[in-house]
Symmetry: C2
Subunit: 127 residues, 2 copies
Amino acid sequence: MTKIRKAILKILSEDCCLISPAVMLQKLKSAGLNPDRSTIFRELSLLTQKTITNKIVIGDINYYELAEDHHHHLVCMGCDNIAKISLSAHLQQQEEQIKINNNFTVVNHALEFYGYCASCQDTNGDI
Amino acid sequence: MTKIRKAILKILSEDCCLISPAVMLQKLKSAGLNPDRSTIFRELSLLTQKTITNKIVIGDINYYELAEDHHHHLVCMGCDNIAKISLSAHLQQQEEQIKINNNFTVVNHALEFYGYCASCQDTNGDI
DNA sequence: TTTTATGCAAACAATTTGCAGGTCA
DNA sequence: TGACCTGCAAATTGTTTGCATAAAA
């Protein structure tokens, strides 16, 4: 448990939602650390390998989030903002069906909704 | 409507599921064309921009698929195979709820389930 | 002390861009 | 013709790797 790893885990738990390697680097710098980029890539992929974090790709950017805090995302195509929502209960049903119908054991899922948030709906007229 | 664009659309409709830029290049070569990589990137992002295709990222690989043939994916973490399934009816309900609860207008979504297919379950014991 | 993590520099791969020439309507 | 498409080469970005040093167990 090194300084950098501890700081990364702290940032992940505070920021609670998605964070990219680049932003992680910024935040570590703000916290007084100055790690190499490669260290961050190595650390985040290690954490993902250990299923402590999940990796999610949205619009060409790789994001990481704590696996324990599972949820889904509303991605605004107007302002690129990403909000959280949670539909896990419904998907759990689906996953049971998938086990039965497809003989496929689901261990994880990713669900993103793309569209327009309240303010971008206004900007673009009534979509 | 150029030769290359026509060929790309043909390949997309035949292969029906996900296709990466690299594989698209291979298939175009098999079809007797020899386009530059940049042409493929340009073409696929143009098609995506026109919402003719959707871009999906699974395991660090960018895939494209025809938007009209919408479905979801079962991604096997053992053998990396990707299968299609469809749960659209169920998600439509969710999208209406999102409109009401979050004032967010959904125009598209991506849903991938990660887990183990029938044969990989056997290989890994009873997961 | 033995393993594991880190920084640095170099290597890599996928994608993007500028530009000049070619193609399509 | 005028707009768009294409190939080529170069640039850019995000990520990975090898190796020597430093820190952790």
